[in-house]
Amino acid sequence: MAASKIQVENLPVKHSKEVFLLQLVSQLSKTLEDVVGLEDAEGFISLVGTRIGKLLNADYHTASCVNESFDLETVARVLVDLKHRIDGNFKIDSLSPDKIVLLNSRCPFGDKVIGKPSLCMMTSNVFGRITADNLGYAKVELDETIAKSDGRCRIVIHLVYEQAEDNSAREYFQDTTSDRQ
């Protein structure tokens, strides 16, 4: 029986530019965690997260033609929207002057995030930077995360100093030198 040549072009391999970039980020992050440890990896990733947070904040302001800081509700909607645009599934669980609580059932990094908690530092830094630059202060608690196999993310962003209970959570302050506005 004659065996036909394998048509590699038609194989159902899940590979695309998006998949490649996700794998790239995921593997870079994993390597960073393995080489320098989680805490140090977070130290490096926070630089990236801060830059991206500032860029996104500027983008939303430019696109909405708003120069002044966003209000609480707009900030929460921006955080949900920016995740939606990269295939996350965040929603606002509750909103009050002292905190924003967000829930997420799908990570933009997909299943590749599981076991790579340093990637959550991206979310912490992006959310923290955007919130703090608009509302003055943010303490981001990663209460539950898909990365830690909790099955969902529950992110609490405290807006008032005294309300923040988790001492290990990162705090973000308004960057008054920012050239956004």
């Binding site: 100093y161 705090e171 302050f173």
Partner: protein, 303 residues
């Protein structure tokens, strides 16, 4: 600056250089390691340390700024000049707050030297491994290549040809084996000497290589015999290549010193049989027929 004052004894405990500076870049605390390092750098304490470090690494000012607008460690690598050479340091920056509800008003900076000695040892190890790999490559070539002709030897032929042989046999254009033998080679050696014989062998090998494709395996089978494994080709198309090889050799003038030598080859061809050994046997039989039938010809084994 109460908290900074209380840090005095703590930072002295660290072996690596640690210092605290205000958000304006003024060094207000430093341990012995930091002082010693600053001396080596010839850093003047009256200068803004952030600006000074930024002259060595332009991102430093950004790391410093980030550590004043958020909590947690910010990290980055920086090269600093020590004793006329650059050394790599990992910098850890952490904002210091006066109380729980204020932004950092100072930054603690730690400079941790990267393990230069280990780096050098690793370089040596890497170089050594490259030499080992190169040596293995040469060894492999000697074990798989015929020194005189540069063609693969029989060992290599078997290791490569048997790989995926069964899949190839079952495909529509499997391929074929070609066995060549130089006619009357003994006479060339007897008349012109062994060196002349070697020259002929090398030039026949060159013709074989020049007329085969990348996926083919031209091999010196032994003595004046050669084997060519043509893959993914039917016998009809293969015969075009094979006859081109035969006529190229027959029309070539093999030059040895001032002597022109003319040679021909007899060729046996066989399409791939169920096993490699069987194909070789059939090829050999076809070659024998070509020799008996008058030489300088191609005989295809009939199934």
């Amino acid at each position: 600056m109460p908290i900074i004052n209380s840090a005095d004894g703590i930072i002295e405990c660290f072996k690596e250089a640690i210092f605290i500076c205000t958000t304006a870049g003024e060094v207000v605390q430093s341990n012995s390691s930091a002082n010693s390092l600053f001396n080596t750098f010839q850093y003047d304490f009256s200068h803004n340390v952030v600006n000074w470090l930024t002259t060595h690494h332009q991102q430093f000012v950004e790391w410093f700024h980030i550590s004043t607008i958020q909590t947690g460690i910010v990290k980055g690598n920086i090269n600093l000049p020590v004793n006329n050479e650059f050394r790599r340091y990992t910098t850890h920056l952490c904002g210091i707050r006066e109380n729980a509800v204020t932004k950092p008003y100072a930054v603690l900076i730690r400079l941790e030297p990267k393990m230069r000695n280990m780096d050098f040892q690793f370089q040596d190890l890497k170089q050594h491994m490259q030499q080992v790999n190169q040596h293995l490559k040469v060894e492999y070539r000697h074990a798989h290549q015929d020194e005189l002709t540069g063609l693969y030897n029989r060992r290599h032929f078997y290791s490569v040809a048997s790989r995926g042989y069964n899949n190839l046999v079952n495909s529509t254009s499997a391929g074929c084996l070609v066995m060549l033998d130089i006619d009357n080679f003994k006479k060339i050696n007897d008349v012109h000497g062994h060196e002349a014989g070697d020259t002929v062998l090398a030039q026949v090998a060159a013709i074989l290589t020049n007329n085969s494709r990348n996926e083919d395996i031209p091999t010196r089978w032994g003595g004046e015999e050669f084997m060519l494994f043509l893959r993914n080709i039917n016998v009809t198309d293969a015969l075009i290549i094979i006859d081109r090889i035969r006529t190229s050799i027959a029309s070539n003038t093999f030059i040895y010193g001032s002597t022109d030598i003319y040679v021909t080859v007899s060729i046996g061809v066989c399409s791939l049989q169920q096993s490699l050994d069987e194909t070789i046997r059939c090829c050999d039989a076809a070659l024998y027929t070509a020799k008996r039938s008058g030489k300088n010809m191609v005989i295809v084994h009939q199934d």
